[in-house]
């Protein structure tokens, strides 16, 4: 069942590459849309088979691969990975749907998109750390090519920067996985939080640190974020959609699944610092976004800020905050995808993303009224206006984290307020006002965007509203898994309790507690 989620895009990509035919034909696009449609349909089928009442991974598929290495083909899905698989299905489809018809080298382009989609599915579904690493690395080269070939003017620099950062993060992650799996002497790469218990706390902290930097590069967290604005600015719109919507989630997924899931004890020790790091990341991202003149760079920096909430929620690790972290991942995926789509529309209509130049795009006759309206929706969602997906996510994150880390949470809330500031700046400068202000003397008439091209953006906006108004469905899907992740800190609390009580009670009672 789950293997099909890998086979459809990966085999599809290979077929696309070797299938005879004119490489410039439009057929490749339709074939890719069909394949991704099938993949999306299949992930919905998985959703139907999924039982939210089960806490652990389900629909397991296991096959031996390389026994010597401890590498096992082991797929499974739980409440943490299923929503991410779904959003990958949706956004991959959207990315192909919004790809310009005159894209050069369509065969290679679409094959690479399919490869990324399959690799991301594999990373979310893998139940073996080495298998996860394999898929994590698999996505690297296709994305590098997508930026390097179809990017903007400075694409070579941005693509290489992305490559180096991500390759480095991969090596850190591999080192940490080796450290954990081989600490016990046997090669056990399964997702087992008990593994870390045999390792001393110092080593645990070291391995967790490596993982945090590794995933921190991918998420990205300040100060490892510098590749992201460059990559986003140079990447084409569909690639930006995938990058922000799906690929950054690999980082936060890794944060929850591996950092929190595999090193609960060390996590408990580091949590206050991590929350502080989150606050720093949020404030830095928001303040940097205020400064930007380029719309796309602004949205990119908003990603840096918004991904910080996930770290805050993970650091708190209360049931509510983890639920919020999952909501934040989904809602950020949808909202940033929407924002990048709209920025792409503006760029293709006006030829610029500079907010010093753009004025009055909301003009109903000659401007981009529908795009503008959708932008207002996206901006409101991102700023956390009630009734939208962003509100639910941020509310849960702050509500859950406030009990654990009041100061850090308050700082993050300030960052959330700053979101409203920079996005208001964006809307105010680019969309409000008069379309043809001096020094332009003649009347500006922007090309009207066909309604058909706006469907993906409208669909995303509807999804954002739907999650904001009816969060229960998604919530119940993820509840058990986020609850399962919170257990480890409770174990620590229990052990702390018993340690305290051991001072007063007899050993027999301690045994009972244990």
């Amino acid at each position: 069942m789950l293997s099909a989620l890998l086979l459809i895009p990966l085999v599809g990509a290979l077929l696309l590459l070797v299938w005879p035919g004119d490489p410039e034909s439009q057929r490749w696009r339709w074939a890719t849309l069909a394949l991704l449609g099938l993949q999306l349909f299949w992930s919905l089928a998985v959703l139907l088979r999924f039982d939210p009442a089960i806490g652990g991974a389900q629909l397991l598929e296991v096959a031996p691969w390389v026994g010597t290495l401890g590498l096992e083909y082991r797929l499974g899905v739980d409440g943490l990975s299923l929503p991410l698989v779904l959003i990958n299905g949706v956004l991959s489809f959207v990315a192909v749907a919004v790809t310009a018809a005159d894209t050069s080298r369509p065969r290679l382009y679409h094959a690479l998109l399919l490869l990324i989609s399959g690799a991301v599915n594999g990373a979310f579904l893998a139940q073996n750390t080495l298998l996860f690493f394999l898929f994590y690395e698999l996505e690297l080269i296709p994305l590098w090519l997508l930026i390097a070939i179809w990017g903007g003017r400075n694409r070579a620099y941005a693509a290489t920067k992305f490559l180096i950062f991500t390759a480095l993060s991969g090596m850190l992650i591999l080192g940490a996985f080796f450290g954990l799996a081989l600490a016990t002497g046997s090669a056990d790469f399964s997702f087992n939080p008990l593994l870390a218990q045999d390792v001393g706390l110092g080593v645990q902290l070291l391995l967790l640190g490596a993982l945090l930097v590794g995933f921190g590069i991918k998420i990205p967290l300040v100060p490892f974020h510098t590749w992201l604005p460059d990559a986003h600015t140079e990447a084409s719109t569909p690639v930006s959609v995938l990058l922000a919507g799906v690929l950054l989630k690999l980082g936060t997924y890794g944060l929850l699944r591996f950092c929190l899931g595999l090193f609960p004890e060390a996590w408990g020790v580091m949590a206050p610092w991590l929350a502080g790091w989150a606050a720093l990341s949020v404030l830095f991202g928001s303040l940097a976004a205020i400064q930007q003149q380029d719309m796309k760079r602004m949205v990119a920096y908003s990603s840096v800020g918004h991904m910080g909430y996930v770290l805050l929620a993970a650091a708190a690790a209360t049931p509510v905050s983890l639920q919020g972290a999952l909501f934040q991942m989904i809602s950020h995926g949808l909202i940033s995808a929407l924002l990048f789509l709209l920025v792409g529309v503006v760029y293709s209509a006006t030829g610029t993303r500079d907010m010093n130049v753009l004025r009055g795009l909301l003009n109903p006759q000659r401007g981009l009224p529908l795009t503008g309206s959708l932008m207002v929706v996206g901006v409101m969602a991102s700023a956390g206006i009630p009734g939208m997906a962003g509100f639910v996510a941020e509310f849960l994150v702050f509500r859950g984290s406030l009990v654990a880390f009041p100061l850090q949470t308050l700082l993050c809330m300030v960052g959330s307020g700053l979101t409203a500031v920079y996005f208001l700046l964006l809307v105010n400068r680019a969309f409000f006002g008069r379309l043809d202000t001096p020094p332009t003397t003649q009347q500006v008439v922007l090309p009207s965007i066909p309604l058909g091209h706006q469907i993906p953006a409208m669909a995303l906006a509807v999804a954002i509203l739907a999650i904001g108004l009816l969060p229960q469905g998604l919530g119940s899907l993820m509840e058990r898994s986020s609850f399962a992740l919170t257990l480890p800190p409770r174990v620590i609390a229990a052990s702390l309790d018993s340690a305290i009580s051991s001072a007063t009670t007899t050993p027999a009672i301690r045994l009972e507690q244990g």
Binding site: V66, L130, L134
Partner: protein, 521 residues
Amino acid sequence: MTVFCTLAGGGAPAITALQLNAGAIAPESAVLVALLACLLVDLAGEEAASRWVPPICYGGLGTALVLLALQWNAPLEPSFLGSFLADNLAIAFRGVVAASTLLSLLISWRYVERSGTPVGEYAAILLAATLGAMFLCGATDLVSIFISLETLSVSSYLLSGYMKRDARSGEAALKYLLVGSAAAAVFLYGASLLYGLTGGETSLEAVGVALQTSATPVTALALVFVLATVAFKIAAVPFHQWTPDVYEGSPTPVVAFLSVGSKAAGFALALRLLVGCFESFDAQWKVLFTVLAVLSMTLGNVVALAQTSMKRMLAYSSIGQAGFVMIGLVCGTEDGYAAMVLYMAAYLFMNLGAFACIILFSLRTGSDRISDYAGLYQKDPLITLGLSLCLLSLGGIPPMLGFFGKIYLFFAGWADQQYLLVVVGLITSVVSIYYYISVIKMMVVKEPQEASDVVKAYPEISWSLTGMQPLRAALVGCVLVTAIGGILSNPLFTWANSAVAGTPMLQHAIAASESAVAALG
């Protein structure tokens, strides 16, 4: 072969109590027969040679590979009075050597033909080098080691100077000869010290026993000398200086052989000498090799960044790759040795695949500069795809074969707590990805208008000339194994593990190191 068998079975016991067991070198005999046949055919004239030499070589090397497969896991008996041993390790490395010659020959016909040098002679010298390398993998006696080492080296000097009209080829041969002779002299001196220590024995077993009881400064000197020879053969930093110049000047197919076949023989020699003999100096040579490995990985990969010539870049990358393999050697665990064998086998396919591509490119354009590859995807998709996949595999990107090989090396290193080596390996892997990727960037990312002049004037693709079909077969074969071999790599892992399991020398070393750990614990 039957002659040898009757000699071994019937004649030997009658003469002496020691066995000859000549059947062990049956694969080498097949190569030798092919070599002689090539020389004979060469006498019949240029035309007959170019027609008959290729099938003779395929026949000889193919037979050798089949015979090697038949020897796998056979009961072990030392042959030639204890100077040759066909254990699984030797068989695995001889297989890698023979396969690398076969592939190098497949990609060299057109190249040799075009340079106007005699084909028969070329094949004969390459087969002689193969013979030396194969004997080296199984040699267990100081004399036979030296003879096979020299057979390999002298043939390699000849090969690297084979393009007589090219001044760079002459320069490469001279440099290789001078440095190589010095290395041989150093080895002889080390061997003579060992000979003296044993009191007049040359077999490695006797040397190992003698070394266990004598920890004198002379022994340390012998270790250093032997180590220098090994390091020279596998081109470990700082014994690597010959590599870039020799690789750049030599004919490209020869470089392909030198970088895989000759290196595999060097690693087999390293295992025989260091693991088999210098067991009592375990800690010392491991420290030295750790330093060599760190230097090789760092320098090889960092200097490769700055290269503009494809062959030079691959030369430095091969230095770095040898550094990765040394991780397995230093571990000295079952996984470490198996990872070495596995990585050499993987390296065979990915490196020769890359060489097949750059030979094809230089045949079509006459260029070797990395910048001349710009925009190639439009004109030649096969080279672009093949070279990209092989380079990605060398860089250790999944799901290529090289990824699994490299992971296994790091895995073995980490399990043996060689943290420094693994961390350096991980970091230099990122560096290596960068320069492999920049070649791919040239080929795939550059738009038609940015293409180099060479690519703009790219000739029509044709496979009709003599020697092009074998080149294509070798290219496609290597690329397929590199691309698919990783996903289906489990049999390869089993093979590498059984190569270690079927080698008493390695088993003994593993048991010794395990008992040492147990004693410590």
